[in-house]
Symmetry: C2
Subunit: 365 residues, 2 copies
């Protein structure tokens, strides 16, 4: 067989996920028999490194060299033109959570540049953008992979694609899609014990680094709604946007306008009784309360919010900040396929990106 064709790789974003991804890319370059890629572009928010002749950038020293280069990143259209004119096929790895870059994916894809990314924004934005992305990929003959946009490195998107592309019928998807929400409810309403006060759970989660700097960015449920939007669309529902279905916010209305995350945390204990009511009501009927996202395909209903679960349900016995996702399909019948594990964090998110990169490489090379 002919040796695989060379592929150029562009990396945007060298933060938490991006820096781990680059170390994984370096490992792959050194440990894969038929390496056939070369880095031609690397950028962070205010720095970039690339050569007009597309000459190879050494992966191990790329970040350092980029920081020293003094170049600022070109505009997105300029990046697209630069990459479209590369001597080989190009994969752009977007490790940012930038909306602007996400919205430009159709430009990349239409010009034959494949995309690999953990960035949720593109796939959970408007339905129009979703359609533009996949039709641009089709017309450009390019690929777009985004495993880490749901559940980090866990095989969620790939499993959904296997169902859809082999003709299984997904009937229901449900689970705990947020590590933060998982931690909060496992601590607040454990299936086999007393649990802590709601506000104490939130404070502890923040101390452990399990929340955004302002915990309201987790408690509003938007992150979960974005993931449900992506899975629902993959299953075939034309979901307009993450706010086109019911999402229960756990921010007391009175605290929506709190000045800061700290201000919010200080006032949160005043509202503990509300959450306590939910917990007690569930306990009275032998259930535990959990923050669940679900998609019911028959009724086309997507929703995110508190639900009562049986203590024997795998959702109830989740530990730590684990995510869990149950796929009910026609072929799996009465017992769902369940995937559980760490759904956030640099190492596993970057692994999802690296795994996707390898899958795209074997198709282009």
């Amino acid at each position: 067989m002919a040796p695989p064709k060379q592929v150029n790789i562009a990396v945007i974003g060298t933060g938490g996920v991006g820096s781990v991804f680059i170390s994984q890319l370096s490992w792959i370059a050194k440990n894969t028999a038929s390496t056939h890629f070369s880095l031609c572009y690397i950028a962070m928010i205010d720095k970039a490194l690339y050569h007009e002749d597309y000459s190879e950038i050494d992966i191990d020293t790329a970040v350092e060299a980029m920081e020293k280069s003094g170049k600022t990143p070109p505009s997105i259209p300029t990046i697209v033109d630069y990459l479209a004119a590369a001597p080989h096929k190009v994969i752009t790895v977007d490790n940012t959570s930038s909306r602007a870059i996400a919205e430009s994916y159709p430009e990349f894809l239409r010009k034959g540049i494949s995309i690999v990314t953990p960035n949720k924004k593109a796939f959970s934005g408007s339905y129009q953008l979703w359609q533009d992305i996949f039709s641009a990929a089709e017309s450009g003959g390019s690929l777009v992979y985004h495993e880490s946009s749901v559940g980090a490195g866990m095989p969620i998107i790939s499993t959904m694609k296997d169902f859809v592309h082999t003709g299984d019928e997904v009937t229901k998807i449900e689970g705990v899609f947020s590590g933060t929400m998982s931690y909060l409810f496992n601590a607040f309403a454990p299936w086999n014990g007393e649990g802590s006060k709601w506000s104490d759970s939130v404070k502890k989660a923040k101390e452990l680094g399990f929340t955004e700097p302002d915990p309201r960015d987790d408690l509003n449920g938007l992150d979960v709604a974005r993931k449900l939007t992506i899975l629902g669309r993959l299953a075939g529902l034309p979901i307009e946007s993450p706010d086109s279905f019911p999402v229960q916010s756990l921010i007391p209305t009175e605290l929506e306008s709190a000045k800061s995350g700290d201000d919010f945390l200080q006032k949160l204990p005043e509202f503990d009784s509300r959450m306590e009511e939910h917990k007690t009501a569930a306990m009275k009927v032998g259930k535990v309360v959990r923050y669940v996202g679900s998609i019911d395909m028959a009724s086309k209903q997507v929703k995110v919010g508190m639900e009562w679960c049986d203590p024997t349900d795998p959702i109830a016995t989740l530990k730590g900040s684990d995510n869990i996702i149950s796929f009910h399909t026609k072929r799996y019948g009465s017992m769902p396929l369940i995937i559980r594990g760490q759904g956030a964090g640099g190492d596993v998110t970057a692994m999802g990106v690296s795994g996707d990169l390898l899958k795209v490489l074997v198709q282009l090379g």
Copy 2:
């Protein structure tokens, strides 16, 4: 982009998994935008259908036409020569559990014919065969995919490959790898109740079709040992064979020579006290007994047999005949990635095969 290259497909085996696979292949042909494959060979144990000019066989009527054709299948070397001379790249889908075909994979692969299969025999036979298969694929520029050889359609092999190919370090794998063993122990020693007699569990499992015709073929543990062999090798252990590590058989020595499965079942109640002892001993320390397979990478220890599990362990709370597999890796840290679901049955096994076929198609096309 140029349209994908045509690929020829050969299907061997039209039994339980094979017949479902063919209906999934038909679905894929009708529902995929850029179908670029054609069936050129189909065979069962004593019939075959193919044309000297490789003209396309209609998928929907293939089995019927094969049965009417009156041709017997050529010898394996003749099949290999026929497929190697096809006008396009070829994927052979082996839906049998034939050892002879498994042992001939290197011949197919060396001649550039890719293999997709649920057949465990090739990957859990001698380590020499394992090595021959992958070196033949490398020299032939062909691919070999076998997702359904462990856990049917569940994403087990693909997840292992993602760990290994992106540089994660698998430290431990453990789980319940047999639907039969799962059912038996969930019924015999439920985590939250009394449970049934061991011999009654076995009888009930047989009635429900959860065992082989002779239940000893499940109780000897060999099926689990084969799956552990495959996963261990993927993780990098040079496991010589499925009988090169400790496998606990649940067949009483006295019944190993029982004349038939029925004879075995009739005498099994005489030995119930032995299993009861295991259950009681575990219960005394608040545990439940389960039939577990595990691979510890640090000590290179692989073993299969009864273990005591905490009732909060996901292994203990398994239901029905579900399989469960926990991957402990460096990146996942203290909480493993867990995949649980139906690990046997025609529909889901065939789905694993179809999913693999699609992954090979995009690489060849």
